[in-house]
Symmetry: C2
């Protein structure tokens, strides 16, 4: 019977309780003490009176509301903890809706490039910018990744997202285009970046990774290896 189920401060709000807390918020309990009967709340929530009663008891015990039950109904005010729960959900939704993804993860398979990456990365005009803007000195070479077919949209989406821009330049009669970069974590371990090289010989299913180390070696990759890339946006 004493199965230590941490009775006291289970700080995760169960989904059904969240809905009841939300309903109380709608009734104004964030701003003032409201009077609501379990019957009325049950009607709003679409559950029974008994369930509404239990929800109030549990929200109270969890510290999300202050409550005085009386014969006229429940006098309820949402506590600071309850407010944080509501606002937390709001902030989470806002960041999701405003399509500023805080994180973007995708997978791809290693494909062999044409050795071009090494040439590009070793151009001083690029190299200096990479070092300064990304915070690491890139290994002279890129790892080419072919996205799995269903994720063909990733590259297009990346093009619309705020990137670190490496400016293009001219050297002699050759033009080096602008490169968009996204700091990324490769296989959950190595910090590097996704580089969208504008003038690419690959189709849209291939993206290139750069890192301070030789990724193939340090991660033990071969052609066809699965690689996971996680881009984290700073905000």
């Amino acid at each position: 019977m004493s199965k230590e189920k941490s009775r006291g401060a289970d700080d995760s709000l169960k989904p059904t309780l969240w809905y009841s807390l939300l309903k109380l918020s709608e009734l104004g309990a964030l701003n003032r003490k409201i009077l609501v009967s379990t019957i009325a709340l049950a009607g709003d929530r679409g559950v029974s009176q008994q369930t509404a009663s239990k929800h109030l008891i549990e929200l109270d015990r969890g510290g999300y509301i202050e409550r005085q039950a009386s014969v006229q109904g429940n006098h309820i005010k949402i506590t600071e903890k309850g407010r944080r729960a509501v606002e937390g959900m709001y902030l989470k939704l806002r960041s999701v809706i405003d399509k500023k993804p805080h994180m973007l993860t995708f997978k791809g398979k290693v494909v062999n490039g044409l050795g071009e990456g090494a040439y590009y990365m070793s151009r001083p005009g690029y190299r200096e910018q990479f070092s300064r803007k990304l915070g690491f000195n890139p290994f002279p070479g890129t790892l080419n990744l072919r996205l799995v077919p269903s994720q063909e949209g990733v590259r297009r989406e990346l093009e619309t997202l705020p990137a670190i821009t490496i400016k293009g330049f001219k050297r002699g009669k050759r033009t080096f285009g602008e490169v968009k970069c996204f700091p990324a974590v490769i296989n959950d371990s190595v910090k590097g970046a996704v580089a969208l090289i504008h003038r690419t010989h690959h189709d849209d299913l291939v993206i290139e990774l750069i890192a301070p180390t030789h990724l193939r070696r340090s991660l033990g990759l071969r052609e066809g290896s699965d690689v996971k890339v996680t881009i984290v946006f700073n905000s």
Copy 2:
């Protein structure tokens, strides 16, 4: 569009499913097709792999996501219906958090006034404004309501909310103060208004109602009767 009560697909999202849909949104499924394994989703959600799998199946059946399950995982994109669910929650939370209550309900008991209401309401300087700004011709008289003790905060909160203001005026040596009004529904049936008459002989627990009809008669009220007032804000 009509109001189809949709057979077959239960169009109310269960709380636990909502949480899974939210998690998918966080992973970016609002914007593109993502690849996620039931194991990964389970980890994020704090449920088992089996439960995550079931949730995906039910979200799919409910029309909230498009899904292709494969041996690499689930390719998932949130549908229009799913997006509406997420955005609906966001909008609801925004209106709640931004403390612009869309609705405020309270209860009070009928108390006898001093007959002053009738005098005020019949002043042409007030009457014309009420008629024009509230959209009805007020019955010459007010219904006084004593708030239940726990709702003493309601009057104070009303003073901070956007009101329809009836300007004061002078008639002879007498000064008639400004009145703040809130369109309201009384006992879920009669459209009238709450009137905060600045210069009142009552304490803060009493508010006054006006309406196009004689409320005591049309609602069959007596002293001590319970009255429910719902103020709806336009936006």
